[in-house]
């Protein structure tokens, strides 16, 4: 993982999460903005996944547990996709709230992934 990219990703996920929560609690059903924000989180996760796959080839090895890292990485990839899928089926304001919950969960998971890659076993 690249440290600055992870922190940027966490920041974007928190912003997207808060945005979706606010929009959701204000009573709006999922729209292009909230779905787009969640999709952006998913795109960043895919980039992060590719970066993590390639990084060891450039001498950037994970310090922590690689299996644990990839369990987080794969789980994280599933979450926004599932939330968007849910939001397309269930057209209520609660789906917007769920998009926000998923984005915030991603922020926590990326933080953990970052810890595993950079801090664990140092």
């Amino acid at each position: 993982m690249i440290e600055w990219f992870s922190y940027a990703q966490i920041a974007v996920a928190v912003l997207a999460g808060v945005f979706c929560l606010v929009v959701g609690f204000s009573g709006r059903i999922p729209n292009d903005y909230t779905l787009g924000a969640t999709a952006l989180i998913e795109v960043l996760l895919v980039i992060q996944f590719v970066v993590a796959l390639l990084a060891p080839a450039f001498g950037n090895d994970a310090r922590g547990d690689v299996l644990e890292f990839y369990v987080y990485a794969v789980s994280a990839l599933l979450l926004p996709a599932a939330a968007v899928f849910w939001a397309l089926i269930d057209r209520t304001k609660w789906s917007t709230v769920i998009l926000g919950v998923a984005c915030l969960a991603i922020a926590v998971m990326v933080f953990r992934m970052n810890e595993i890659w950079l801090v664990q076993n140092v």
Binding site: D65, W94, V97
Partner: protein, 172 residues
């Protein structure tokens, strides 16, 4: 016409989903926790089960219980309602007992489990979630009998030529 071709008796009760409104958010948080607990226990059991068998067995059990609780919250009917109560109560007891034990007897739970230190590794969500779940369950008891179908089943009943009360038999 679509109304003619639809298998009307099967869909006629137009069932209200068991989970609606804010309860759906609860289900999603349960699902995320189930995913997290499952992933973590998988890693622990594959890599270091012999280091802390008790804590890791508990991790696996709690992951399983979270998965069952998620399903039970979504599924309808009195049986699933009871399963939801049992699993959520189990979580409540689990987080309190294991949380307390990890404080007073840390050698037993030195290795992280979902419930160690009252779920601090999961932002205390394991401590808060069962309470929210119980509040939700107590406010949303399952509707008894098939009387639900009478309120909105009349068009379907006339279309299929049978009274709405017999639709559960036709559905089988």
């Amino acid at each position: 016409m679509p109304t003619e071709s639809l298998p009307v008796p099967v869909t006629s009760p137009a069932r209200r989903p068991r989970i609606a409104g804010v309860g759906r958010v609860l289900v999603v948080i349960y699902a995320i926790l189930a995913l997290g607990a499952f992933g973590r226990s998988l890693v622990q059991i594959i890599q270091q089960f012999d280091q802390a068998p008790l804590a890791y067995t508990l991790s696996a059990v709690s992951a399983f219980v979270y998965i069952v609780a998620t399903v039970a919250l979504v599924a309808r009917g009195a049986v699933w309602y009871r399963v939801a109560w049992i699993t959520i109560s189990f979580e409540m007891v689990g987080v309190l007992v294991v949380g307390t034990l990890s404080v007073v007897a840390p050698e037993l739970f030195a290795h992280a489990s979902v419930w160690s230190y009252y779920g601090v590794g999961y932002l205390f969500i394991p401590l808060v979630l069962p309470v929210l779940g119980m509040i939700w369950l107590s406010k949303n008891r399952p509707v008894r009998g098939e009387i639900v179908a009478d309120t909105d089943g009349s068009p379907a009943g006339t279309a299929s030529g049978t009274p709405p009360t017999t639709t559960p038999d036709n559905a089988q």
